[in-house]
């Protein structure tokens, strides 16, 4: 395949957020806050806002353009693990702009490394600025999100996230960066519409995915209670969707099925709830920086083996959708109990990624320092973190107009190489933040994979 020779211009500061940024002791410590501080997110999430939060169920039309009815159909993007603020995050922008979504949902980790906010405007201290506001500047659409583990690492233990997405406290910031603020009703929510065949439910899995509760730091102290409130709310919403005969897409950050095995150890109640509602058709997560799809049969087997649930009538796929711009995680893992039906990048592509990233990293003085070597020996994915716009992915959801043959489609979009998106004959300079990217249609088509 011939690759274009366009000169893609990234913002100057995007190159400062690569491996060097992560290796700074301040950021290294902040990004490993899960090891250093206890997890009380089941309590924290209820202290952020008012004691009686607004209705968590919001119509799609609130996120659509004025005058645009949900029954006319609309499309939106589901993406996760975006917030590194580096070239790999910016690398997805041309595709995101190309599809002209009505709104976008980010499933966590949108302000790495630690969801910090700094009033001084220093992007190295303000993760929301570098990982969210600057990359999506002038996108001009509403962006909803769910908190990931990194958003809970901040000093305010997630308060920064809540203030940004669920209140008007930072309305000025949204306005300054040309983004439309539609405050979320909380850290977990539902999007639905009477006419729409699909319901989207977003859940908050907290700092470590301990929705069932868990012991405190180093197993000292009293146990954190389970988030019964969120579970009750989810049950109620799923019962209603079952009753209305709607399809539900459930989104949350930390996956329960990852790399072919059970992952979320303290989300068993969540799995049991999901296994008992036929309306749930897709479960989309993030956290792991790759794309993995688990077929309905595999998910059935997973529920039966792990939870002893009867799965008659359950047809749900699980998707790990964490390739939204952060440095990739390895995908050359051994086959395990639960087979991954689609994987991106696959093992061969992963080798290419590591090779190209490794070549860049070898030229970096940081890789030769003791700290660099230590970090890379702990997590080998760092060896390939060359900050390249390669093998990124997201989901494109099209809700069709009323009466269409397929009420909605969920399409995985896999971008192998940003440079391939431009016509092989094109030359010249391309601004990565150009809102009207001139992409090569044939290649964009190749990015669209079979619907889920």
């Amino acid at each position: 395949m011939e690759v274009s020779v366009v000169d893609i211009r990234f913002p100057e500061f995007a190159k400062d957020r690569g491996i060097g940024f992560w290796l700074r002791p301040r950021n290294l410590i902040a990004s490993r806050n899960d090891l250093l501080r206890s997890d009380n997110s089941n309590s924290w999430r209820y202290t952020f806002g008012p004691a009686s939060p607004p209705d968590r169920s919001v119509p799609f039309s609130r996120l659509l353009e004025p005058g645009h009815s949900a029954s006319e159909g609309f499309c939106f993007i589901i993406i996760a693990d975006t917030g590194e603020g580096d070239r790999s995050q910016y690398g997805l922008l041309p595709l995101l702009y190309h599809f002209r979504p009505k709104f976008m949902i980010i499933i966590g980790d949108l302000a790495n490394p630690a969801g910090r906010i700094d009033g001084s405007g220093d992007r190295n201290k303000d993760d929301y600025l570098a990982g969210f506001f600057e990359p999506y500047r002038n996108f001009d659409i509403p962006i909803w999100s769910l908190p990931g583990n990194h958003e809970y690492y901040a000093r305010g233990q997630g308060q920064e996230y809540f203030d940004t997405f669920c209140t008007r406290k930072y309305a000025n910031r949204w306005s300054d960066y040309g983004l439309r603020l539609v405050p979320q009703p909380g850290t977990y929510w539902e999007l639905k519409e009477p006419d729409s065949p699909v319901v989207v439910i977003g859940l908050d899995t907290g700092k470590k995915g301990n929705l069932d509760g868990g012991r405190r730091f180093l197993n000292i102290g009293t146990e954190m209670p389970a988030d019964q409130k969120q579970y009750r709310w989810l049950e109620e919403r799923l019962n209603l969707a079952d009753h209305d005969g709607k399809d539900v897409i459930v989104l949350f950050h930390i996956p329960v099925l990852n790399k072919g095995k059970k992952d979320g150890k303290r989300m068993n109640t969540l799995c049991r709830i999901l296994a008992s509602h036929p309306c749930v058709k897709k479960v989309v997560c993030g956290h792991e920086h790759s794309f993995q799809e688990y077929s309905a049969e595999t998910v059935q087997r997973f529920f039966e083996i792990e939870f002893g649930c009867s799965t008659s009538g359950i047809e749900q796929k699980h998707i790990v959708n964490g390739g939204g711009g952060s440095a990739l995680h390895s995908t050359d893992f051994k086959p395990r109990r639960y087979q991954v039906s689609r994987l991106f990048p696959d093992a061969d592509q992963w080798k290419v990624y590591m090779k190209e990233g490794g070549a860049i990293m070898q030229g970096s003085w940081l890789a030769k320092t003791l700290l660099g070597k230590l970090v890379m020996s702990v997590n080998r994915a760092y060896k390939g973190d060359g900050d390249m716009p390669l093998y990124l992915s997201f989901l494109l959801v099209n809700v069709h107009e009323k009466g269409a043959e397929h009420p909605y489609t969920v399409t995985p979009v896999w971008m192998e190489n940003l440079y391939k998106l431009y016509h092989p004959q094109s030359t010249g300079v391309v601004e990565i933040m150009d809102k009207n990217p001139n992409l090569y249609d044939l290649e964009v088509e190749r990015c669209l994979k079979d619907n889920l």
Binding site: P50, P66, I117, D118, G119, S120, D140, A154, R155, G156, Q159, E160, F162, D163, T167, R168, K169, Y170, A171, N172, W174, S175, D176, G178, R180, L181
Partner: protein, 386 residues
């Protein structure tokens, strides 16, 4: 009246006087440090951040309207330092300033309209109509368009009508005001809709004040104990050494020492009062001078215990070999003597942490007992400790 002449009383008086002297010393250092480091303001900033969330730090940019020219700065700048304690109205005004321009403008116009209406429903003023005209011209793609759009949606709930412009569909259109409207109701609704976080902060302000007072007091106490511990460790003011010295004092010596430090304590208290009344900056500089004199006096007193040949005119830092005695380095006895020393210094620090006013009253009481002029201690210690 006959006074009580006892060796124990003299020792106790001497000990209390020493601790009073140290408390005064710590107080001087702490007050100077607090002034130079804007300790109260930093504490306020932190409390505000805890109370309102990290968002409160936006006020650093929003609430300063003055510009200053600092040392070696040729351009005038807005100060970006800590936040000074604000009262409720100041805080509200500052928080409102963090809102987006269209929200800010609408709020201002509604306040203006409210003043103009003086509590009765009237037809919209010229200024309000002009504002609506401007709002309707907000162009899609322009920064702030979505805020203008939301405000228009909100206005439509209050009798305003929007007519789209047939020639230009990128702008919001023409907004018409109703014949009459109550600006007060509109303003309240606007605040609830767009500035609810400001109203919450205003409602909960008394609780915030309490939180701040408590946090500041706690911080001061911690600071007092820390400074006291550092001084005790650095200059060997362990409780054991002070007690040994006090035991060797005659009644006359103890009384003289007590009177000296009582006088010093009162002088300092007066200085603090002057500071509170706004004459304090010169006092702080004077205090810094006094720290040196006091420390030298103190070292002189204590040096007469068991160090025969030292120059008491200058502060003696801790002599490590004396702490450990004759024990060989890193032996169990050596470690034990160090632990003992650290605990004794910690004990001194805790005693100092009780506060100069308490020691002042105790010394007065003991002096009264010794001299037969017993006075009842003051009922209220008052003021900040340390």
């Amino acid at each position: 009246m006959e006074g009580i002449q006892s060796q124990w009383l003299s020792a106790l008086l001497g000990f209390a006087a020493f601790i009073l002297g140290l408390s005064v010393l710590v107080q001087i250092i702490q007050e100077s440090f607090k002034f130079l480091s804007s300790s109260k303001d930093r504490s306020y900033s932190r409390s505000l951040s805890d109370f309102l969330g990290p968002w409160a730090m936006q006020l650093k940019q929003a609430c300063f309207t003055l510009t200053v020219r600092g040392p070696f700065q040729f351009l005038r700048i807005r100060p970006q330092g800590v936040l000074l304690p604000m009262d409720r109205d100041q805080l509200e005004a500052a928080l409102i300033k963090t809102a987006p321009p269209w929200v800010l403008k609408t709020h201002q116009m509604l306040r203006q309209e409210m003043n103009w209406q003086c509590g009765t429903e009237k037809k919209p003023s010229q200024a309000w109509c002009r504002f609506l005209e401007d709002l309707g011209k907000a162009d899609k793609g322009m920064l702030g368009y979505w805020n203008a759009y939301e405000i228009t949606q909100w206005l439509s709930q209050w009798g305003h009508t929007l007519k789209k412009d047939s020639k230009n569909d990128r702008i919001l259109g023409k907004i018409n005001a109703p014949l009459t409207f109550g600006a007060k109701e509109l303003c309240d609704s606007f605040q609830e809709c767009f500035l609810s976080h400001v109203s919450d902060a205003k409602t909960n302000f008394p609780q915030f004040e309490k939180n701040f007072e408590y946090a500041y007091r706690r911080k001061n106490l911690k600071q007092t104990i820390f400074i006291a511990l550092v001084i005790s460790l650095a200059f060997d003011f362990s409780a054991g050494r002070i007690w040994k010295r006090a035991q060797r004092m005659s009644a006359k010596e103890a009384a003289s020492l007590a009177e000296t430090y009582l006088a010093m304590s009162e002088k300092i208290t007066k200085g603090m009062e002057a500071e509170d009344s706004g004459k304090g900056q010169a006092e702080v500089m004077k205090n810094l001078e006094e720290v040196k004199i006091l420390l030298t006096d103190y070292a002189k007193e204590l040096s007469s215990i068991d160090r025969k040949s030292q120059d008491a005119s200058f502060l003696q830092l801790i002599k490590f070999n004396e702490i450990a005695g004759r024990a060989s380095a890193f032996s169990w006895a050596w470690i034990a003597s160090w632990i003992k020393y650290i605990f004794q210094c910690l004990f001194t620090a805790l005693l100092i942490g009780v506060g100069a006013p308490v020691w002042n009253d105790l010394v007065k009481f003991l002096l009264g007992l010794q001299q037969g002029k017993f006075k009842k201690p003051l009922p209220d210690y008052g003021g900040e400790r340390g």
